[in-house]
Assembly symmetry: C2
Homo-oligomer: 210 residues x 2
Amino acid sequence: MRIITVSRQFGSGGRELGKRLSDILGWDYYDKEIIQKLSEDSGLDEGYIDTVLTNHEWQSIPLSYNNSFAFISSLPTDKTSLLIQQRKIIESIAQVGHDCIIVGRDADIILSLYKPFRLFVCADMDSRIARTMGRENDKEDPRLTEKEIARNIRKIDKERAQVRQILSGKDWGEGTCFDLTVNTRSTDIKALSQMVADYALKWFELNGVT
Amino acid sequence: MRIITVSRQFGSGGRELGKRLSDILGWDYYDKEIIQKLSEDSGLDEGYIDTVLTNHEWQSIPLSYNNSFAFISSLPTDKTSLLIQQRKIIESIAQVGHDCIIVGRDADIILSLYKPFRLFVCADMDSRIARTMGRENDKEDPRLTEKEIARNIRKIDKERAQVRQILSGKDWGEGTCFDLTVNTRSTDIKALSQMVADYALKWFELNGVT
């Protein structure tokens, strides 16, 4: 079984790259699906789970969030419990045994024994802001200013780095933590995805992962 | 003209990868050649130049080094002057206009206007120590212990990072400073070189560099 894990900086286009890899290779794809499973298992609202997992505070989020069933007190509702639960789901994905792509959620560390191809997707801050603004324009939300987006990006970076530090003791984005780091700066993600797919397939061959 | 710049952590196999890229692609290759040119231009000993450029101290090295002609006082002998001289040589390489590979010496920053494919080669400390020890065994020098090698590697990292900071204001090894970062951990550099060559050729095409 071959697993590609996609770690990415917010706004780098990593999610799109992951989805395209899955389309090109025809492999299973896991991203929001993990949150959906967490939601099914726990009865908690997906939005609630997402908020707890991406929030950099470790205390509980008020349980009045959305239509959450969090009042069922025996369920895990705090960040630590949800991270443990998420870990189990990621491990169960690997146990299915299908070739797959997993975006985010530190699956590269959690599944290290399966020798995944660990991809990191990054871009300079200007490209990330531009990409995020393009995305924002599709929404009905009031548009954020460039400055606000930059602040949000830095906040998300910090949150991801924190979970990463806890799991691996290493700085997030360090080249040696990944098998390949690609920079999406001013690059067409579609063409880049094919290049990464080619590279990854050869990498699995080279490393005897089948 | 297509330029591949190879920045690398000491002991990562980056130099070998660069040489192999040049063999695969049939492109010009510059590494020690730059020091040789510096030596020809200045009349200074190659060993002396190398010592000055890789030494993390910025004061002058005693001029009694080897068979150096450094007593000719009008020639640049300090690190700053040599870095400026080296920069000019790297710029003149680009002016030749041939497709080429340049290893180290921050050519990616110096030649950024030529839109080089900026490769960074890294590996975890254990692999770097192992690779360096393998290399040491070929020499007649008394063997260094693992601990001494690790200390040397950290020292060289620090020195390279310092010049990098001066040139670009950025941390060395940051993913966003490069177009591709490859990890050579437990990987056959020969096979990896072919993968990187394929990727680089597609990258030039994608970015309209011919």
